[in-house]
Amino acid sequence: MAGVAGPATGSGAAGGDGDDSLYPIAVLIDELRNEDVQLRLNSIKKLSTIALALGVERTRTELLPFLTDTIYDEDEVLLALAEQLGNFTGLVGGPDFAHCLLPPLESLATVEETVVRDKAVESLRQISQEHTPVALEAHFVPLVKRLASGDWFTSRTSACGLFSVCYPRASIAVKGEIRQYFRSLCSDDTPMVRRAAASKLGEFAKVLELDSVKSEIVPLFTNLASDEQDSVRLLAVEACVSIAQLLSQDDIEALVMPTLRQAAEDKSWRVRYMVADKFSELQKAVGPKITLNDLIPAFQNLLKDCEAEVRAAAAHKVKELCENLPMEGRETMIMNQILPYIKELVSDTNQHVKSALASVIMGLSTILGKENTIEHLLPLFLAQLKDECPEVRLNIISNLDCVNEVIGIRQLSQSLLPAIVELAEDAKWRVRLAIIEYMPLLAGQLGVEFFDEKLNSLCMAWLVDHVYAIREAATNNLMKLVQKFGTEWAQNTIVPKVLVMANDPNYLHRMTTLFCINALSEACGQEITTKQMLPIVLKMAGDQVANVRFNVAKSLQKIGPILDTDALQEEVKPVLQKLGQDEDMDVKYFAQEAISAVAQRLRKLDFPVKDSEEPSAPGADKNHFLRPRGPGEDTGKGPAYQLHVNTRDTLPQLDTAEIVLFLPKHRLISRI
C-alpha cells in the first residue's frame, strides 16, 4: 500500500535524467518485496538494473545490506539472487570491492535447498577469482572457515566446494589451516557433509602440493573409501581418478590400489557400479601396467557381478576398455581375457545387460580385425540379432556400419533380414520408428537388389501404419532412398505404389500420398513430378474430405517450384482458384496461401519486365504485404485471407495430434 506513492515520486525524480542517485532505494526495495512471488522474482532477476540505478556506492551501502538481512524467501527467488550476485563485481565498484558481495552469498550458502546452495557456492567461486590475494585472506578465507565450522550441515557442505579455489593463492600458514578444515569435514559426523567432502576430494587434491597429496589426501581418501555409508564410499571412487593422475606409478600401486581393489569388490553394488561406470577414466589414470595386473581381473569380476546393474555398466565399457589397452599384445589380451566373458553376457538373463553389450560389441570388430571378427564376433552378433528383446537387436543394427568397414555387411544379411522384419512389425511404435531410421543406411550397405527383393515391401507397409509418426518417418525414408538409388529406381518401384494410394478408401492413406509427393518431388525432378504426380494431386482436389483438399493446396504450393510455368499457369492455378472458393474455411485459407506463392513465382519468372514498368518498387516482392498485385492474383480473395488466419493453427494439427503420445524414451538403468 505504501508503495502507491513511491513510484510516482520515483518517476518524478527520474525526469531529471542520468544521475546516480535517481531512485529512492525504498521504491526499488518495494519491488524486491512485492507480495507476488512472480513479481519479486522478476525484480530479483533484474537486480543488476536496480544496482545500476543506485550506483556503486549505494549498492554497497544500502542494497547489499538489505539483501543480506532479508534472506528468508522462496527458494526460487533465492536461487535467482545467488545467480545474480555472481556477476555483481562490476556493479559494486570492481575487484577492490568484491568482498562486499560475500555476506549475502554466505547466507545463501547456508540455506537448505540444494540448488540454491550450489548456485551460491558457484557464485562464490567466481567471485573468489576477483579477489586480490590480500582480500582473499582478509575476507574470503575467513568466510570459508565460518562456513566450515557452521552448526547446521548445510554450511559445512557448502564450504567443501570453496577450499580448492582459495588454496592456490593463500600463504603457507593459511594453506595449512585450509587443509586442516578440509580434513575435519572429511570425517564430519553428518553423512551429507562427508559426501560433499568426498565429491570435492579430487578437485582439492589437484591444487595441493604433491607431498600433501601423499601425506594428507591419501589417508582421507582411504577413510572415505571405507566409510560406513555406501553413498560416501562410491564418491571416493571418483576421487580415485583425480588422485591417481597426480601420483607416480609406484605411489599409485602403494597408496591407491589397495583401496581401489577393495572398492571393486565392495559389498554394496552401488560402489561396484561406480567402479564399472568410471572404468575408462580409472584405466587411463592408473596407466597400462596396473591396468593389466589389476584392472583386467577386476573388470572380469564386474562383468560377472551378481547384480545386473553392475554387469550392464561394465558391459557398456567393454569397447573403451579394449581400445585403451596398449597396442602391443592387445589382440591376445582381448581374445583371452575379455572375449570369454563377453560370450557369457550374450546370453545374460537381464535384457539391460544384453542391450548394453549390443550397443558396443560391434565396435570390437575394428579393434580385432577381419579374421577374428568372422571367427569369434560374428556368432555373437548373430546371436544378439536373434535376441528376444527388441532393444538388443536394434542396438546391433544401429551399429552395423562398424562391421561393414571390417567384413562387409553381406556376412550378416541372412540373419539381418528376419531381425529387421521382426522389428519392422514390433508392437511398440518406438521400435518401428527406430528401425525405419536405419533403413537408408541398411539400403546403402545391402545394395539395391537385396533391398528391392527383401525390404521394399516393408517400407511401403509403413506408409499405412496406424501411427502418424511412423507414416511420417516412412515418407522421409522414401525420400532418402530415392536420393540413394536415383530417379529411375523411384519411377519404377516407389512412385506407382505411392500414387495408387490416392484411391484408398481411408483418407489418412490418401493424405499419405500427398505427403509422399511433398517429400519425393524434389528428389524425383520435374519430369516425374509433372507427368506422374501432378495429375494425381490435381485429381485429389475434388476429394470429399476437407483435410485432403487443403493438403492438396499445400502440396501444390510445395511442388510449385519444381513445375514449369505452363503447368503452373494452365493446371495448378485453376485448381487452386477453385479450392479458394471451397466451402471449408481451412481449404480456402491454404488455397490462398498457395495462390500467393504460385503467383509470386509466376511473377518472378518475368520479373525483368515488371521491374522496368514499376521502378518505384525494386525488391518489393521480398515483402509479402507490400508487394504490388501480380497479374495472376485474384484480388477478390484478399479479405478471405484475413478471415482465416485464426483457423490455420488448429485444424491441420488434428492428424498430427497422436505424435504427442510419445512415451518417455527408455532410460538406462543407473539409479545412484
Binding site: S11, A14, Y23, K46, L52, R195
Partner: protein
C-alpha cells in the same frame, strides 16, 4: 569376498534334535547351536537349490521362535551375542537395485523379498527376543549398538512393505528399551530424511519412520529441547516438498499436529513453513496441504491464530480461486468447520478484506457451478458476520481493482525507466553517448 553371491559352506543342518524333545538341561546348548546354524544364508533367487536345507532352516527358525516365547530362563548372558549375530547375518544385506526402472511406489508393484520365508521368521524371532520378559537391555546394549542401529535404519529402504512393517516394530522396541541409543536414532533418522529431501528423493521407509516418530514426539518432555524444534522446522516441514508426499503425508501431518499439541508456540513457524513450500503446480499436493492445514487449525489456539491469519488467508484466498475445482472445494470446506468459522468470525475485520476480492470474482467467474454455490454460501456467511464491512467492500470493489491496475501500470513505467537508464549507461560506457 564376492558380494551377495552364493557362498554356502557345506555345513549340514541336519542332525540337531528338536529343542523340545531333549532334556531341559541340554536345551541352552542346543539353542546356541541352532542359532549358529541359522547364520547360514541361502540363495532364494535360485528357487531350486538346497530345497531340503532351506526347509530345515525354516523349521529350525520356527523352533527358535517357539522356544524363546515359551521357555523360561533361556536368555542367558552368552545367548545375547549369538542372537544378535544370527539376526545380523540374516537381515543385514545391501538391498538390491529395484527391478523396475525408476521404481515409483505409487505406480509399480514392489519387488518382494525372495528370502522372506526365512527373513520373516528371523524378524519374528528378534521381536520376541526384544519383547521377552527376561530381556535385559543392559546386557544387550553391548551388541545392539550404534552400528547395529545404523544398519537397521538402512533396511527401511526395502521395497517389501512386509519387511518395513517388521522393521518398524523392531526399531520401536529398540528405541523404547535402549535409552542410550535414542538420540543417535533420532539423529540418523534426521540424516535419512535430509538425504531424502535434498539429495535423492528416494527412500521407501519414510512413512514407517514417521510413524515411529509420531509416537516418540508424543513422549517428548516439556519444554521441548532445541533439537526437537529444529527437527520440526528443518526436517519435517521440508519433507512436504518431496514429490512422493502422498505416500507418507498422513504420518507426516500426524507428527506435525503432535508437535503443535505439545507446544502451541510452534504454530507460527509451522504455518509459515507450509506457506513457503506451498505447491505451485501440483494440485493433488495442494489438496493435501489444505487437509493438513485444517488439522492444524483444529488444534490452534486463538492467540496463535491471530499471529498467522494474514499470510494464511492470503494463501487460502488463492486456493479458493484455483481453477482446479478440487483445490477450491477443499479450501471452501473450511467454512463448514465450526471451530474455524468461530475463529474467522472473531477476526472478520482482518480476514474479510483479504478474502473478499477472490470470493467476489469467483462468484462471477468460476467454471464449476458447485464452487460458485459454495462461494455464495461463504459470502453469505461473511455478510451475516460483518455486514457493514461487507457493504463497504462491495461498494469499493471496482475502484479497488482500478487502483490495483494503476499501481501495476506505475510499476511497469518504473521498470521501463530503469531499463532506459541501463541502456543509456551501456551506450555511454561503450562511448556512443559522450559522458
Amino acid at each position: 569376498m564376492s558380494p551377495g553371491g552364493l557362498q554356502l559352506p557345506p555345513v549340514s543342518l541336519g542332525g540337531s534334535p528338536r529343542s523340545t524333545d531333549v532334556p531341559s538341561s541340554e536345551q541352552p546348548e542346543l539353542f546356541l547351536k541352532k542359532l549358529q546354524q541359522c547364520c547360514v544364508i541361502f540363495d532364494f533367487m535360485d528357487t531350486l537349490s538346497d530345497l531340503k536345507m532351506k526347509e530345515y532352516k525354516r523349521s529350525t527358525l520356527n523352533e527358535l521362535v517357539d522356544y524363546i516365547t515359551i521357555s523360561r530362563g533361556c536368555l542367558t548372558e552368552q545367548t545375547y551375542p549369538e542372537v544378535v549375530r544370527m539376526v545380523s547375518c540374516n537381515i543385514f544385506r545391501t538391498l538390491p537395485p529395484s527391478d523396475s526402472n525408476e521404481f515409483d511406489p505409487e505406480e509399480d508393484e514392489p519387488t518382494l523379498e525372495a528370502s522372506w520365508p526365512h527373513l520373516q521368521l528371523v524378524y519374528e524371532f528378534f521381536i520376541r527376543f526384544l519383547e521377552s520378559q527376561e530381556f535385559q537391555p543392559s546386557i544387550a546394549k553391548k551388541y545392539i549398538d550404534q552400528k547395529f542401529v545404523l544398519q537397521l535404519l538402512e533396511l527401511f529402504d526395502s521395497e517389501d512393505p512386509r519387511e518395513r512393517d517388521y522393521l518398524k516394530t523392531v526399531l520401536h522396541r529398540i528405541y523404547g528399551k535402549f535409552l542410550g541409543l535414542r538420540a543417535f536414532i533420532r539423529k540418523q533418522i534426521n540424516n535419512i530424511f535430509l538425504r531424502f529431501v535434498y539429495e535423492t528423493e528416494h527412500f521407501n521407509g519414510v512413512a514407517e519412520l514417521l510413524e515411529i516418530l509420531g509416537s516418540i514426539i508424543n513422549g517428548f518432555a516439556l519444554p521441548l529441547k532445541a533439537e526437537h524444534k529444529q527437527f520440526l522446522v528443518k526436517v519435517l516441514i521440508p519433507l512436504h516438498t518431496v514429490r512422493s508426499l502422498s505416500l507418507f503425508h498422513a504420518q507426516l501431518a500426524y507428527c506435525i499436529v503432535q508437535f503443535l499439541e505439545k507446544d502451541p508456540s510452534l504454530t507460527e513457524p509451522v504455518i509459515r513453513g507450509l506457506m513457503k513450500f506451498w505447491p505451485k503446480t501440483c494440485s493433488q499436493k495442494e489438496v493435501m496441504f489444505l487437509g493438513e492445514l485444517e488439522e492444524i487449525l483444529d488444534v490452534i489456539e486463538p492467540s496463535q491464530f491471530v499471529k498467522i491469519q494474514e499470510p494464511l488467508f492470503k494463501q487460502i484466498a488463492k486456493c479458493v480461486s484455483s481453477p482446479h475445482f478440487q483445490v477450491a472445494e477443499r479450501a471452501l470446506y473450511y467454512w463448514n468447520n465450526e471451530y474455524i468459522m468461530s475463529l474467522i468470525e472473531e477476526n472478520s475485520n482482518v480476514i474479510l478484506p483479504i478474502m473478499f476480492s477472490s470470493l467476489y470474482r469467483i462468484s462471477k467467474e468460476h467454471w464449476n457451478p458447485a464452487i460458485v454455490a459454495l462461494v455464495y454460501n461463504v459470502l453469505k456467511a461473511f455478510m451475516e458476520m460483518n455486514s457493514t464491512m461487507f457493504d463497504e467492500l462491495t461498494a469499493t470493489y471496482k475502484s479497488d481493482r482500478q487502483r490495483e491496475k494503476k499501481k501495476e501500470k506505475e510499476r511497469e513505467e518504473l521498470w521501463k525507466k530503469l531499463e532506459d537508464l541501463e541502456l543509456k549507461r551501456g551506450l555511454r560506457r561503450d562511448g556512443i553517448i559522450p559522458t
